[in-house]
Symmetry: C2
């Protein structure tokens, strides 16, 4: 067996993209259209002949309502019963076969509205865990201010800002924030969840159309962190807050009222970085150990999203 | 007066962009939502106090239903009565003022659905005619084939092609077609309208996501010409037609059944090129003379779109 699931089962790695506009976020919620919900419903359809509970998904980045993804990664463990229902693959071939197999079937069922696309599916390397193995997550945020071309075709993934923004001030402010810090001032707090993260990269540029694009990359993010960081930079770019204020806010450690969290619409999970295959299991173990240390510290881990 | 309209009136040049998905094309049609219809309704609202017929628009490229535009150009002649209703501008300033004036008001009224954006408005230079002055129109066509990343956020402006396409064969075929020719084989024929055009540029490339992008530039296009050219290249890229066949089809001069016209969805009017201001009137006169020569030749000019 090539992965760490139950005997004879396989772990499948999926890459997917979605327009988050008409989804109530990634996570399954009763009565709401979510990415996880749509995909798990499709998996249940595909494996409906299996005498086993339908498979469930684990994802790298649990995006909020309205947030998009281009390079999202998830995994699903398929039991022997699921594989039998799928049609067991031939010896020496991945099970089920790549883009023409599960990815294509999931897109065919869950992607009928056009806003969800499963790009690839393949047997995951040993030790792979979509959520615990990543070494970084990278997000992009797009803002068309008064100086930018407004392309209506990209309005679903771009914030339209009525005034002009100073991209140099925003870029300076962003770059001054990177490093290993406690981000409580930029997170929606959750009891028992750490807010310490390493912000690896944060910068602003304008693309060929003059659209402001933030690149935000960290080992992991706490809830609403990217949108809070973007909102703080917008306050700087609009001249409402000096750039030097941002590190001070961060180090004060408490959410203030000097900026607002930027809208979900402009945010896209661009890519997730995994270590080389040989280090996947070690990385996942480190992340899990960190989670258990927090849980064992006496703080109730009320919401595990504190470690994404 | 700085433009060639009636005494004391002004000609305003507009730049605009739209997502064509939910429009029945540019041209006003009773009972249908069109770009011209929405903008002229907004102009009627803005000038509703004027004792004159509401202003009408003239456009560089009359796009079909479902076709998008990023750099569309139009003009509108405002009579003194319209200007009075708008609020007459101060001396020494453009009338009405640029992006914060008419463009912003039009976007505020006609752009409420988010799929239409009037980027700029300014008094046109003397001799300017949005339709007759251009020296070229440039279109782009986007195709995500099996080798490309499928970004659901760009699905409204990208054709999703199920198989793999050979972009080098498509690029060779495209480049072999350029020049001054009769394009009857690639046009929906209209009685009395010439199908002679100069195809200045036609090529294919893949962008960073592997999406195939055609650049098609000509002095003007006849109806459905870009989509027919793209459809012929797709037949080449899919291996259904040799690249060498395209110039032969073109020179045969009749529409055959060897390719299908590509869907509107992938097509965007990217930009319109105008000559230097000093040459605007000469260029418009040349284009008009050509039109009159066709009309005077005894052929009924049943539809003037033959000369866009």
């Amino acid at each position: 067996m090539r992965s760490d699931t139950a005997d004879e089962g396989v772990r499948i790695r999926l890459e997917l993209a979605y327009d988050g506009t008409d989804f109530a976020g990634w996570s399954r919620q009763p009565g709401l259209r979510t990415v996880q919900g749509e995909l798990e419903a499709a998996l249940a359809t595909i494996t409906r002949r299996a005498a086993a509970p339908p498979p469930t998904l684990v994802v790298a980045g649990r995006t909020d309502a309205g947030v998009h993804a281009l390079g999202q990664v998830a995994h699903v463990d398929l039991l022997p019963e699921h594989l039998a229902a799928l049609g067991r693959p031939r010896r020496g071939q991945p099970a089920p076969p790549g883009p023409d197999g599960l990815a294509r079937r999931l897109t065919g069922i869950a992607g009928q509205a056009g806003d969800l696309w499963v790009a690839t599916s393949a047997v995951a390397p040993a030790g792979f865990d979509a959520r615990f193995s990543p070494v970084w997550r990278r997000y992009e945020y797009r803002i068309a201010d008064a100086a930018a071309l407004h392309d209506p075709l990209r309005r679903r993934a771009t914030l339209w800002h009525p005034g002009a923004l100073d991209e140099q001030a925003m870029d300076s402010a962003a770059r001054s924030l990177t490093g290993l810090h406690d981000w409580a001032a930029f997170c929606r707090p959750r009891e028992g969840a750490t807010t310490v993260r390493t912000l690896l990269e944060f910068c602003w540029r304008r693309d060929a159309d003059g659209v402001l694009i933030a690149t935000v990359r960290a080992d992991a993010f706490c809830h609403s962190m990217v949108r809070a960081l973007v909102g703080a930079c917008v306050a700087v770019g609009a001249g409402r807050m000096p750039a030097e204020r941002l590190p001070l806010l961060r180090d004060a450690g408490e959410r203030g009222s000097e900026f607002v969290v930027a809208a979900a619409r402009g945010l896209t999970l661009a890519a997730v970085g995994y270590p080389p295959d040989a280090e996947l299991a070690v990385r996942a173990g480190q992340t899990r150990a960190r989670r258990e240390a927090i849980a064992g510290s006496g703080l109730a881990l009320t919401d595990p999203s504190g470690i994404d």
